[in-house]
């Protein structure tokens, strides 16, 4: 080997030594991985959304057992809440609009979705956008009791409809009406309903607002039901959670609002519901 070749190899060796670094920590931009406590807050908001939709599903599953309809002025907030579930039970269809806004302090996430649910034929269709572009959704027909039990189909962009073959375990739990009914019943039982209801305009009508105060233990139990584990990571600085349920003069729940916050993380959830009668016509996009 010549002297000049040795020099090239020597330089390569020096170069290799100078660039031999320890692998650093990866820091995705804007810290999207988040802190575990932030994660817990987001999970709590997810639970509230799941519960809201679960209540819809149960509303379509339940049959009215008694007529709770009476003048709203004569009803207590607890009776108003109960009548709203019964109102869902007699509703052929629902139009919904959901917004979830997450503020992580140094990053934000946003989810918008709207669509229709046919509670008679157990189908739903909608559109959702979490920032990555709109996604079309279709669910049903169902072999079970709630909206979807045998398939979810998703379409993004101009692509084909795709069957979601392996939805998460939360779906399995949500298509268990008995389990979900029990979980929501326990949630309701452990929550406190503000004994004084308020009135507020909602659209062209005037709604009664029923406020639930949700204790952390109730959320923890719901997390256990929905996600199949004990939510032991509740943030220590979790702010008290209240859920406002807007009930229109017919007793139908038209709006659900809540805010979950801990530390710098705040999540606002708004779900708007409209009764659709007759049920919306939802045609499966695929054979």
């Amino acid at each position: 080997m010549s002297v000049s070749k040795d020099r090239a190899d020597e330089l390569l060796e020096t170069w290799a030594a100078a660039t031999d670094r320890r692998v650093p920590a990866f820091a995705p931009r804007a810290s999207r991985r988040g802190h575990p406590l932030r994660a817990a807050v987001i999970v709590l908001a997810a639970i509230l959304v799941v519960v809201a939709f679960g209540a819809i599903a149960i509303g379509g599953y339940l049959k009215p057992t008694q007529d709770l309809r009476q003048p709203q002025d004569a009803q207590s907030p607890a009776e108003l809440a109960a009548s709203s579930v019964q109102a869902l039970a007699t509703t052929p269809g629902i139009r919904y609009a959901l917004t979830v806004a997450v503020d992580l302090g140094n990053d934000t996430m946003h989810l918008d979705s709207s669509g229709e649910i046919d509670l008679e034929r157990h189908r739903f269709s909608g559109i959702a956008d979490g920032g990555g572009g709109p996604m079309l959704l279709f669910g049903g027909p169902s072999s079970g009791s709630v909206v979807v039990a045998d398939g979810l189909y998703v379409r993004t962009g101009a692509g084909p409809w795709e069957h979601v073959a392996d939805p998460s375990s939360a779906l399995d739990r949500l298509i268990d009406p008995d389990g979900l009914t029990g979980a929501i019943a326990r949630w309701m039982a452990s929550s406190q309903i503000d004994p004084t209801s308020r009135g507020a305009p909602c659209g062209t009508q005037r709604c009664q607002i029923v406020r639930f105060s949700v204790p952390a233990i109730a959320l923890s139990e719901l997390a256990g039901f929905v996600f199949g584990h004990d939510a032991t990571l509740l943030p220590t600085d979790l702010a008290p959670i209240s859920v406002d349920l807007y009930i229109d003069p017919s007793g139908f729940p038209v709006r659900v609002e809540t805010r979950v916050s801990a530390g710098e993380t705040t999540i606002d959830v708004t779900l708007q519901l409209t009764r659709v009668d007759p049920a919306p016509t939802i045609t499966p996009p695929i054979p």
């Binding site: 650093p24 959304v49 989810l111 939805p167």
Partner: protein, 174 residues
């Protein structure tokens, strides 16, 4: 009812974090980061001849990988993809630069290491960026000229020629 489950997909990830589990794609990303970062960093150094800039570019390359982690075909080797991204980032970075170039900063090296790096940097600075990248990809990262062809954006013959020229320039460097 499936809808909320699906659209709360990112929240399912959060749940998995809470539950002490990690989604497959994130686990694969972590593995790829640990395994591929040294090669990506060195490839970036080869293109830029500058350590801090290379660190930035390597970070950006892995950020691109992170953003695509849930759609990437993880069954295919990820390093060639990362090197292509790194090359493009290095090229874009160079296009955006205006002389005078940022003063070099050297971290993580002791005094001898800094002196050695400055010497070798000057020597490698006499190579073209393609010659440098070809030499490092084959001699340091262990690619064959055929394997290095795609990441470098050069034909295998051009890779061999660039390596030959690079070695000749270094051999004459004194």
């Amino acid at each position: 009812m499936a809808w909320p489950t699906v659209r709360i997909g990112p929240l399912d990830r959060v749940h998995e974090q809470m539950n002490g589990t990690q989604p497959d794609d994130e686990r694969r990303f972590d593995d790829a980061f640990r395994h591929a970062w040294p090669s990506v960093f060195r490839f970036a150094v080869a293109w830029t001849n500058d350590l801090p800039t290379a660190e930035d570019i390597a970070q950006e390359a892995f950020t691109r990988l992170w953003d695509r982690r849930d759609t990437l075909d993880w069954d295919r080797p990820v390093i060639p993809w990362l090197l292509v991204v790194t090359r493009r980032l290095a090229t874009d970075r160079f296009r955006r630069l205006r002389p005078p170039y940022p003063a070099p900063r050297v971290r993580d090296l002791n005094e001898d290491g800094v002196a050695a790096w400055l010497d070798v940097r000057a020597a490698f600075g006499r190579l073209t960026s393609r010659e440098r990248a070809a030499l490092v990809t084959v001699a340091i990262l262990g690619f064959t000229p055929d394997e290095a062809s795609d990441p470098l954006g050069m034909s295998p013959g051009a890779v061999r020629a660039a390596i030959s020229r690079a070695r000749e320039k270094l051999e004459n460097e004194r």
